[in-house]
Amino acid sequence: MSVTVLLFASYADAFGSPSVSLEIAPGATVADVLAACRQHPGGDRLPAAPMVAVNQRYAAVSTPVHAGDEVALIPPVAGG
């Protein structure tokens, strides 16, 4: 299935895009999405354990990802 991953700030710069579309297997988790992102050009610049949000909530690497979910890689936040 196809999943679109939103990218922001330094990660968007690393990938050269504000989002990437990935093919992942049904039953995939956040860990699988991260592994697919690392294969993408620029993905080697991700840190070892980036924060991820699924449907606008922080998610663990074990969180399942379904078709149509909004997945986002969250760089170190720096508000304030």
């Binding site: 939103l6 922001f8 700030a9 330094s10 710069d13 690393a14 610049r45 949000a53 606008q56 909530r57 922080y58 986002a72 969250i74 760089p75 170190p76 936040v77 720096a78 508000g79 304030g80």
Partner: protein
């Protein structure tokens, strides 16, 4: 009752924030402003551009306001974060909290800004006087590997 979190693009008006949380039941209002500073990590800063994952940032700001109100027993917590290009001395964040008593109001204010810094998906790119730019991470260092 005002328990809210907002993203704005215009300048933050501190007195408007205070007016929104003021009630006759509150004996204390604490206003926190985060402002753009001229030096970070030894580099001369000219300005900062703030960006966000806007939908999630908004929901996180609102969640923090609700949690703060519940945790400290307040009916009025307002968090406003500005996005876009900011100049030195511009306020990037304004937090107005009110409580019957000052001890709780101070604690509420402090807790709220610390949660914001930890959780809300907002990023800042500092623009330096020498013309360079860098994304900044929470500890104040530039993010490794993405400097142009």
């Amino acid at each position: 009752m005002t328990i809210d979190g907002r993203l704005v693009r215009e300048s933050i008006d501190p007195s408007a924030l205070v007016r929104e949380v003021a009630r006759s039941a509150h004996g204390a209002i604490v206003l926190f402003l985060g402002v753009v500073r001229d030096v970070n990590d030894g580099r001369a800063v000219a300005g900062i551009e703030y960006t966000a994952y806007e939908a999630m940032a908004c929901s996180e700001l609102r969640a923090i306001a609700r949690e703060a109100a519940d945790r400290f027993g307040s009916s009025d917590v307002l968090i406003v974060h500005r996005l876009g290009e900011l100049s030195l001395e511009d306020a990037s964040v304004g937090i107005a909290v009110a409580h019957a008593h000052r001890d709780e109001a101070y604690a509420l204010s402090r807790w709220t800004i610390e949660q914001l810094k930890r959780r809300v998906p907002i990023w800042k790119q500092e623009h330096y006087v020498d013309g360079t730019r860098d994304w900044v991470d929470p500890s104040g260092r530039s993010v490794a590997g993405v400097t142009p």
